[in-house]
Amino acid sequence: MRRIVITGQGAICALGHNAADTWRAMTEGRSGIGPIGHIDTNLLRNNAAIAAEISDFEPRAFIEESRLPFLDPLSQYALVAANEAIRQSGLSFRNERASRTAVVVGVGVAGEETREGLYKKLYSEEIGRFHPLGIVRIMSNAPPSQISMAHGITGPTFTVASACASSNHAIAQAALMIRAGLVDAAVVGGAEACITLGLLRAWEAMRVLAPDTCRPFSANRRGLVLGEGAAMFVLETLESAQARGVTVLAELAGVGMSADAGDIAAPSDAGGAAAMRAALQDAGMQPQEIDYINAHGTGTVANDSTETRAIHQVFGEHARRLAVSSTKPMHGHALGAAGALELIATIGALRHGIVPPTLNYLGPDPACDLDYVPHEARAMPVRAAISNSFAFGGLNAVVAVRQAPAGS
């Protein structure tokens, strides 16, 4: 079987506009959550006017001016992250490489800022003239299309949508295409720009937004806090990376996917456990080989206790020896981009031997009894790790990674 490695990464989120700044903030335990700046929060109820927003972002510094009219923030974020990842990998897409490379991007919603802007004009201002580029900004496949256009990548290119598991499902699709020999490389990750008034109101109505902050696995946790951004990776075969003599960040060892086939919103321990088991099996790894889990850890009462039970079911006695953390209190819950941003954390843990912390932990909840690395990052060797994403709709996707193979 072809072994797949990660040779480039890029990110933009509330913690920074590149992967290095994002990772540094994660090791420092810095939170990007704060009062929402760019929408009128008077129209929100239940005072949940917080999110992990991207700030001080000047798209012109990253993207050519001529391209910008076509881009919702969703695609801007995707391009910023993809450009960084491709630059780091050193790959260029000339000749056959162009058609032998895939672009797969996880997107949970779509170009919401553009959509809401147009509909506001129509419904509330009754202005009938729409900007002609609305559709190409809104469409959920805009991010992979823009990446393919910017880099001349002509292989399989599409969006994967599974709400909060979109990134991990996207990574799985890209990995499976490489393994099948359909392509030799992929630009893959997730993007989301979901901090809009309409979406926030819809989340509020579900009563899952925390009014204070995001405190995963903690006593008195009160829900999730939305985030936004993108993270992208370059995947290629180990053989290709070795032939090119480039630095391998980590090996993408396995992927696992499952559906709860139960409730549309309430999570299932059996479903999450099935995806974790499938990822381990796919990677050919035993539970004992895993040192760190980057948890889905949204901070809702239901997710965190259910995920804890699922981890116990899969890891047995070893669950007590695992470091488990949720980085969502730092970058927020970025829905379709969540798994990709969390892979930045997971790769960082493998490469640097530092496990990012779970912030805002107030104390133990009896239903959450694992080692959540509260408050501060921990230096410890991490040989292999998994990153969990569990979506509304009962869709689960888990990615297993391990340290770069020796000599690569």
Partner: protein, 83 residues
């Protein structure tokens, strides 16, 4: 009709259970109203009375429907005080 009767009728309709099985000391969980069904019950109550129930007043695990009725009464009182 009292607030309690109105709230209980909304719950019975949404949860498809007999009205007389709902007691003030029941929790929505006891009544088999969980997850999004519980959120929908709260939404129906808000729509019916034209009030907003803060998250603090909607503890589906431990809060009783009697407490929910009190929360509705508090919001109604506040609404009439605000004119």
């Amino acid at each position: 009709m009292s607030t309690q009767q109105e709230v209980f009728e909304i719950i019975s309709k949404q949860a498809k259970i007999e009205l007389d099985t709902i007691k003030p000391e029941s929790t929505l969980k006891d009544l088999g109203v969980a997850s999004l069904d519980a959120i929908e019950v709260i939404f129906d109550i808000e729509e019916h009375f034209n009030i907003n129930l803060p998250n603090e007043d909607t503890d589906f695990e431990n809060g009783t429907v009697g407490q929910l009725v009190q929360a509705v009464d508090r919001q109604l009182a506040q609404k009439s005080a605000n004119g």
